[in-house]
Symmetry: C2
C-alpha cells in the first residue's frame, strides 16, 4: 500500500495512540509522526521511546499541515481537542478517533465542527491491554483485531479510505457500522458486562462478611470480574456517553435474570437447564468460530 503522507499527528500518545504510531512505523510508513498531549512527562516518554518523531510545541505546530490527525484521548476530551484543532485544520486534513462510543461523540463533533464535519471519520479499534501509557504501546496491538469505522454521510470516500488503509497497515480487520448500530452492539457485548461485573464486586465488597466471601472466591469469580478491574473514570464516561443503548440492554438483561429467578423460585429445573444449555451451546459455537478465524489468520500470514 503506497501512501503519500507527510505528517501524521497523534493527540494523546498512550497505549492506543502509541501502538498506532509504532504499527505504522514498523510497517515502513515514512510520514513524520508528531505527538501532542496534556502531560509533558508523558510526551517526553513517548519521544524517548521512539514512538513519535517529535513533540509539538503547541496546537498550531501539531495540527497545521497534518495529513491525518488521530485523536486517541478519553472520549470526554474529544470535543475540546476538536475545538483546538479547528483553527489550524487544513482543507485536506482527515481527523479520526478511537472512542468506545460513537453516536454521542459524533453529535459533539457536529456541534464543534459544523460544516467541516465531513473531515471527521469516526472509528473504534477493538483492542487493548491491561496496561496504559506510552510504555505499554506495542506495534502489534491491532494485528488481527477489529477496527470499526462509523463513517458519516458527509465523509468523502477518499477520507474513509485513508483511515481504512492506515488501520489495515496496523494489521486490523476493517468493519463498518453506523454510529447507532455500533453503540447498540457494544452496549450489549461490552458496556453491559462491565456494569454487571462492577455491580457484583461492589455488592460483595459492601457485605459485612466481605472478607470471608472474597476469601473463598476462586478462578471463576476472578475471570467473571476481570473487567471490574478497568478504569472507573473511563467506564463512567462510556456509560454516560452510551446511556440510552445501555439502559435498553440493562432492561432486557434484568428481565432475563428475573425470569431465571422465577424458574428457580418455582423449582422449574427444566427451564433452568434450557437456559444454561442454550447459553453453553451458543458460547461453544462462538469460541469455535473465534478459533477457526484465528487459525485462518495464522495460515494466511
Amino acid at each position: 500500500m503506497e501512501l503519500n503522507l507527510k505528517k501524521i499527528t497523534i493527540a494523546g500518545v498512550g497505549l492506543i495512540g502509541g501502538s498506532f504510531a509504532l504499527a505504522l512505523r514498523s510497517a515502513g510508513v515514512k510520514a513524520e509522526l508528531v505527538g501532542i498531549g496534556r502531560d509533558p512527562d508523558v510526551m517526553q516518554q513517548a519521544l524517548e521511546l521512539g514512538i513519535v518523531d517529535r513533540v509539538a510545541e503547541n496546537a498550531a505546530d501539531a495540527y497545521s499541515g497534518a495529513d491525518l490527525i488521530l485523536i486517541a484521548a478519553p472520549v470526554a476530551q474529544t470535543s475540546v481537542i476538536l475545538s483546538q484543532i479547528l483553527p489550524f485544520l487544513g482543507p485536506d486534513t482527515v481527523i479520526t478517533d478511537v472512542g468506545s462510543t460513537k453516536a454521542d461523540g459524533v453529535a459533539a463533533a457536529r456541534l464543534v465542527m459544523g460544516e467541516r464535519i465531513g473531515q471527521f471519520v469516526p472509528a473504534h479499534p477493538i483492542a487493548g491491554r491491561e496496561l496504559n501509557g506510552p510504555a505499554a504501546a506495542i506495534s502489534d496491538l491491532y494485528a488481527g483485531k477489529k477496527l470499526v469505522i462509523t463513517a458519516l454521510p458527509e465523509n468523502p470516500k477518499a477520507s474513509v479510505s485513508l483511515v481504512e488503509d492506515l488501520w489495515k497497515i496496523c494489521g486490523a480487520q476493517i468493519h463498518f457500522l453506523t454510529p447507532e448500530a455500533h453503540d447498540a452492539v457494544f452496549a450489549s457485548v461490552s458496556h453491559l458486562p462491565h456494569l454487571l461485573a462492577y455491580a457484583l464486586v461492589d455488592e460483595v465488597s459492601q457485605r459485612e462478611n466481605a472478607d470471608i466471601l472474597f476469601q473463598y472466591a476462586a478462578s471463576g469469580f476472578r475471570d467473571f470480574t476481570r473487567i471490574a478491574g478497568s478504569s472507573p473514570e473511563m467506564w463512567r464516561d462510556i456509560a454516560m456517553a452510551n446511556r440510552d443503548a445501555l439502559l435498553h440492554e440493562l432492561d432486557a438483561y434484568i428481565a432475563n435474570v428475573s425470569a431465571t429467578r422465577t424458574a428457580l423460585a418455582e423449582r422449574d429445573a427444566d427451564s433452568l437447564l434450557r437456559t444454561f444449555s442454550r447459553a453453553q451451546s451458543a458460547r461453544q459455537r462462538w469460541i469455535e468460530a473465534i478459533e477457526a478465524a484465528e487459525k485462518d489468520r495464522h495460515a494466511a500470514v
Copy 2:
C-alpha cells in the same frame, strides 16, 4: 504424617476423585486404592492410568472393610451412593464427599443414614479444571487450593481429623464452615456469577442480531462468560440444591443492578463512579491478597 490405612475406596473416579487418588499415591500413602463407578469403560481407563489399584466388582467388594470412602460423583447421586454403601458400612469407616453444595446433601444423607450420620464428614474441594474424566486427573490439582470441611455435630473428632489429614496430604488448605455458611458463601461468589453469565449469553444468543453481537464480542466478554461454558446439568443441580441461598443472592444483586440503572437513568455520573471505584478497589485488594498468599506458598515450599 503417618496414617495407618489399608483400604481407600473412591466412588466416581473422574477428575476430582482421580486427582485425589493420584495425590495420595504421589505422597506415598500405602493404602490400597479401590475404584467403583457406573461406567465400566471409565473404570477401566482409571485402572489403566494407574489411578486406582483395582476396580471393585460390586458394592460389597468396594465398601466392605474400607477405612475411608470418598464419594466423588455429581451431587444428585450422593443419596443413591450412600444407600448402596450402607449395607456394607463398617463401624469405623469414614465417608466423605466433594459436593459443591452442602446443606441439601447433608439433609439427604441424614435421611439415608439415620443414626449412622456421624460417619459422614461432608467436604468440598475448591478446585477444578475445564476437563473431565480420569484422563484429566492430576496429582497436584489440590496443591494450595482450599478444602472446606462442613463437619456435623455428630462427627467424631477422629473422623474429621482423618478427612483433614488426607486432604492436607493432597496439598490442600483446610477450612471449616457450617453447611449453611458454606452454601451462603458459594451462592455469592460462585453460584450467582454462573447464573449471571449463563443469563447474559442466553440473552445475547436469543437476539435477532445474535451473529453480529457475537462477532464484536471481545476478550472482556470471553472472560466474563467463561463460566457459562460449564456443564448445564451440573449447574442446574447446584442451583436447585442451593436454591434458597441463591435466591437470596439473586435478589440482592438485582437490587444493586437496579440501583445502578437508576443512577444511569438519572445521569448521576458521581454515583456510577462511586460504584465502579469501590468495585475496582475491592477487586484490586483481593487480587493483591491472592498474589501475596501465592508468593508465601511458593516461599514455604
